[in-house]
Amino acid sequence: MPSQPAHVATAWPLTFQPLAFPALYARAGFSGFPSPAQDYEQRTLDLNTRLIKNPTQTFYLTAIGDSMEGWGIFHDDLLVVDRSIQPRLGHILVALFDGEVLIKRYALYQGTPHLCSAHPLYPPLPLSGTECQLWGVVRAVIHEYVS
């Protein structure tokens, strides 16, 4: 079986790349006293490992519109969408509905699965009998207060 040649390595997704800032190698200055924290050195927390469980299958999208504010998704928020998650009731989905890309909550309405928004103006969309296709499951939403 041929080994994988090193020089054909394809581009790694951005999330595989090491963090731009280095691990903390704490030293108490140059005076020679070793830092008491030296034995506890750890890599600093990486938000990627918290929000992105499957980097290969994770895509970022931008939310447009105000009708999901009730569930904490605001206009222009960043959506972390994982396409490898099996959708369950209660998940927030990105779905193709009537040729549009929509974010909706997958939930029961009058006993049957619907795509629901959090706004009285937009009634739940029934799943049965419509052309609805799953695109991915929203794992996290990032709302930036200071840009």
């Binding site: 079986m1 041929p2 080994s3 994988q4 040649p5 020089h7 054909v8 394809t10 581009a11 790694w12 997704p13 951005l14 790349q17 980097p55 290969t56 299958q57 895509f59 970022y60 999208l61 931008t62 939310a63 447009i64 519109g65 105000d66 009708s67 999901m68 998704i73 206009h75 960043l78 959506l79 396409r83 490898s84 990105v94 193709l96 509905f97 009537d98 040729g99 549009e100 890309v101 929509l102 974010i103 909706k104 928004s117 706004h119 103006l121 937009y122 296709q133 695109w135």
Partner: protein, 451 residues
């Protein structure tokens, strides 16, 4: 398990070829679902000609390679969609495809941007079939890409199995071929020899003289005879068709013997500074490729071309070959050679359409020893400098750090008027999802300036 089965259970590797269907078009569709079911074409660099077609476009009998301007009418009438090539997007999706396969299979060898070989061992045929089907389903669901999978004991047969999986609906995208089966024989008898992996048009013509017309004819040839009359490569292909593995991916991935970077200008230019800045970028990219494959170059060729189709303008297709004093992979050495080459061939009063740099006569950097006869290189610390340069450019994006700054509006910058957003590599160009029907459209209209 009976004795017969045991006798058959020597370690047999099954080679799978995972090949994305109309890869560039499929990448576009993942992020622009409105293109689903529509005739879509992707154009080459500079929007020159069609290099990828959706099934719908193929059904309209629009051939591969047709110049894009001939389709301008159809595009204006909105009967077809044409996209500029979006290599950032395709490259990222290809990387994801490769990583997904690596997570699922013991060994993977990428062969091109949209074809990857996977190696399965210790599985029964039924299990291989199941793995193929699972991979196909998973790639479709997790990445949104349609692929076909061909499985067989050799690379050449896997390629053939993939072809069958694509063309014949009854395989449903996954085709497992056994070298000795009647099914394989029937496929080989139908396949023109020119469509076998590695057999070009010229070779096919030579084979036709010997009455070798189909893949089956080739398979039935004596391979010693083929080796004598043609080449060892063809003999291996015949053996591979019989199910004897002869090719390893290492052979396929042999470092290239020459490296070429060339591109058409967005618009023709006669300006020397313009031509040099294009050549300079090509030289830097070539040197980067050279270091990637750990080679040194012994010669640099510079070439220019005017527009062949404008017979009313003066024509000029010069090239200059600059041999290097010692083999090198230093960008600065290549750049100096390019400057020298340009001085030799540049003539004013010509409008150039294309410029390119070729590095040739390559040697392996590790094998090349500085002999005492050679002068020591002029720049003593160049490996560290070049490695740093490559590292920065890998991390921060191509061309972040470069030699000499090119003018922003240089005429050779790519023409890509119809490129879709780079959904996976640029924060400002992400795919949009509306919170309710019409949200995206309403937002776009709000942003429009008032008439």
């Amino acid at each position: 398990m009976g004795r017969g089965a045991r006798g058959d259970s020597r370690v047999r590797v099954v080679i799978g070829l995972v090949d994305a269907n109309n890869f560039y078009v499929s990448c576009e569709r993942v992020f622009q679902p409105e293109l689903e079911g529509q005739p879509v074409g992707v154009m080459s660099n500079n929007d020159g000609c069609i290099i990828a077609r959706s099934e719908e476009l193929k059904a309209m009998e629009i051939p591969m390679g047709v110049p894009a301007f001939k389709l301008e009418g159809l595009r204006r009438a909105q009967r077809i969609h044409l996209k500029s090539s979006n290599y950032e997007l395709y490259g990222d999706m290809s990387g994801r495809l490769c990583q997904l396969l690596r997570d699922a299979c013991p060994a993977v060898a990428p062969y091109s941007i949209d074809e990857m070989f996977v190696y399965l061992d210790g599985l029964t045929p039924a299990q291989c079939q199941a793995v193929g089907e699972a991979l196909r389903r998973r790639i479709r669901r997790h990445l949104g890409l349609p692929v076909c999978v061909g499985l067989a004991p050799t690379h050449t047969l896997a390629k053939l199995a993939n072809h069958a999986a694509k063309k014949r609906a009854r395989y449903e995208g996954v085709c497992l071929l056994d070298a000795a089966s009647k099914e394989t024989a029937a496929l080989l008898k139908e396949l023109p020899v020119g469509e076998v992996w590695g057999i070009g048009r010229r070779l096919a013509e030579r084979l036709a003289v010997q009455r070798i017309h189909t893949a089956w004819d080739l398979r039935e040839c004596d391979h010693h005879d083929l080796r004598r009359r043609f080449s060892v490569v063809l003999a291996r292909t015949a053996l591979e068709l019989r199910g004897t593995p002869c090719l390893s991916m290492n052979a396929v991935d042999e470092p290239r013997q020459r490296i070429m970077t060339s591109r058409s200008f967005g618009r023709p230019t006669g300006d020397k500074a313009d031509v040099y800045s294009a050549l300079s970028r090509h030289a830097q990219r070539s040197a980067e490729k050279l270091r990637e494959q750990r080679s040194l170059t012994r010669a640099v060729m510079v070439f220019l071309a005017t527009n062949r189709h404008r017979q009313d303008q003066p024509q000029y297709f010069p090239h200059a070959m600059i041999p290097l004093a010692a083999p090198s992979d230093d960008t600065r050495v290549v750049l100096a050679a390019v400057r020298e080459g340009l001085e030799q061939v540049y003539r004013p009063d010509h409008r150039f359409m294309k410029a390119g740099v070729m590095l040739l006569d390559l040697v392996d950097a590790e094998q090349y020893q500085l002999s005492l006869l050679h002068q020591p290189p002029r720049h003593r610390h160049h490996p560290a400098l070049m490695a740093t340069l490559d590292d920065i450019n890998r991390r921060m994006g191509q061309n972040k750090v470069r030699f000499g700054v090119e003018p922003e509006e240089a005429s050779w910058h790519l023409r890509c008027g119809h490129r879709s957003d780079r959904f996976t590599t640029r924060w400002g160009e992400l795919m949009k999802a509306g919170t309710h029907p019409g949200a995206i459209q309403a937002c776009a209209e709000r942003k429009k300036p008032l008439p």
